[in-house]
Amino acid sequence: MHMADALLSPTIGGAMWAATAGTIAICARKVQRDLDDRKVPLMGVLGAFVFAAQMINFTIPATGSSGHLGGGMILAVLLGPCAAFLTIASVLTIQALFFADGGLLALGCNIFNLGFFPCFIAYPFVYRPLVGSNPTPMRIAVGAVLGGIVGLQLGALAVVAETVLSGISELPPAAFLAAMLPIHLGIGLVEGLVTAAVVSFIWKARPEILQYTIESRPLGHLRLQKVLIGLGAAALITGGALSWFASSNPDGLEWSMAKTSGKEELEAPPTAIHRLLAGLQEQTSFLPDYGFKDGGTEPEIAGESSSSWPAVDKGTSTAGLVGGGLTLALAVMIGLLFRKRKQTP
């Protein structure tokens, strides 16, 4: 499941970006150093393959719903972890840009969730030890299924962690987890089965294709602990820096009627523009006061909510609504205007 920008705080998004960018840099270095130039076009076409494969659905047995290949595992089996990670990262980038799966900020999370776990955890620590250097269809099946499940469970865990830490969604972590893990158990199982079937098919038809990754050590001279520590540090530093920046820079101009803390007054900071606007306001308004003054038909609304909401200023929310509505109208109008203009000439 793709993480979405809408659910991410910039801190978490930024931290995951740092971790992903770090992994990409490491993988790019390793792939370049391996000097296996066959891989350059192979990664490209296999990425395109995964992309196309994801567009074809099949029926999941006994459920009636449909699924498709994720691709992380199969890429790792065919290319090895580093090249596979780069490939899955490219696939997700294109999906984010063209099909709006997730978004730009969430891309870091998505690449990590769907690439890192299958390539660097499930493949080297689950699939490889189980399949060994002498694959049989049975071993491939067990390795791929367990690998698929492990990869997707970790991915689901990461989605939950990222969402909860971001704090945009109100979902309680336990409930979210309880929903995500079983779903992804199913998805992982299916992913594993499809991967197993495809890999066995290739193994029977053209064993030499798999021979290549079988012979290589999955991570080469890359030390996973070192990489993990490095990435963790990068993510922590970025996350820490961003949250420090965010907290030391509180936004005084939010439509903060919902700030339960109530500490933040809705006083606009005395900046030049604001002063200018305020001045303008004073000059143009009959009553230099905020909000509608009990406009005849409008029932009194402030009293009721004031107890639960000390910070809410009725006037401010009214102004927010009016301003928001107008801005929205403006956006729509601009859209229509351009459309008209395009049609007339």
């Binding site: 979405a4 066959r38 076409v45 990425g47 063209f98 965010a246 900046t271 203009r341």
Partner: protein, 270 residues
């Protein structure tokens, strides 16, 4: 329509939009990439109950879409199609956060609904920003820009090659998918066994293609590094647009324009 076919149409449609020649299209892709990133960061950094303050970003996006001649209908359709995940996760907010924060007449609105709406708005703005970036820039140019902005070259090359062969592979996958559909008559879904077989076939062909491409590269002196011709040149106009765009973004992020406007109007009415 099968998913694979609509994916194909989507790609070609966005690709066609990118061949346009408008003020926005002519900007240096680096400027557009950085501005788009800044746009997204601005939007997602809003407080979780922010709505009005985000709307000026929609206005900005509309202006850019208008100048870039990107049909709003297309972008909106895409947003609706891709929204389920955001809706699914966001819809819990109204259930879980029931504190009343606002009364509209006799209508009480809870914080959950506000934050839900805020999630949808964020989603719409960030996704639309991506689509507009691609539709006014084209994927290849975005890759060139990214390469210039410092992503590892091999990754840039990957992206370019992947994009190049998506068209070929989608067509190949589509042909196989059709051939299967034609012979399966009333049965709509595909069994997993068939699916794996179809994918296996497609994968074999793909690997063979990879080998042929490698051969084609070798024939023309490929030695492991792909040399990308960079023809991006920043002009003064690009710099001006970049600075102005960045400033506009920061201003509308920093100041709640919608609220200021609202204050202004309500005062006026009194």
């Amino acid at each position: 329509m099968a998913k694979i076919e609509s994916a194909f149409l989507d790609l070609t449609y966005l690709d066609r939009l990118a061949t346009g020649d408008t003020v926005i299209h002519r900007l240096d892709p680096r400027v557009k990439v950085v501005i788009a990133a800044l746009f997204v960061v601005c939007v997602v950094s809003f407080d979780k109950y922010a709505i009005a303050a985000m709307l000026p970003f929609a206005v900005l996006l509309m202006i850019i879409m208008g100048l870039g001649e990107i049909p709003a209908g297309y972008v909106i359709t895409k947003l609706v199609v891709t929204s389920p995940f955001a809706v699914m996760v966001g819809i819990f907010n109204p259930l879980l956060d029931q504190q009343i924060v606002l009364h509209l007449g006799s209508w009480a609105i809870s914080g959950g609904w506000v934050s839900f709406l805020s999630i949808l708005l964020r989603f719409g703005l960030t996704v639309a920003a991506m689509l507009v970036l691609i539709a006014t820039t084209g994927f290849n140019q975005v890759c060139m820009a990214l390469e210039r902005l410092g992503i590892p070259k091999i990754f840039a090359v990957q992206l370019l090659m992947l994009y190049r062969y998506i068209f070929v592979l989608l067509e190949e996958g589509q042909r196989m998918h059709r051939a299967r559909a034609l012979r399966s008559f009333q049965k709509r879904g595909m069994e997993m066994k068939q699916y794996a077989y179809l994918l296996g076939q497609l994968l074999l062909r793909t690997i063979d293609r990879g080998q042929r491409i490698h051969l084609a590269m070798l024939c023309r002196g490929f030695d492991g590094t792909i040399r990308i011709r960079q023809n991006l040149r920043i002009t003064t106009r690009d710099i001006v647009v970049f600075l102005a765009g960045g400033m506009v973004l920061i201003v509308i992020r920093r100041f709640n324009i919608a609220l200021l406007l609202g204050n202004f109007i309500t005062d006026l009415l009194q």
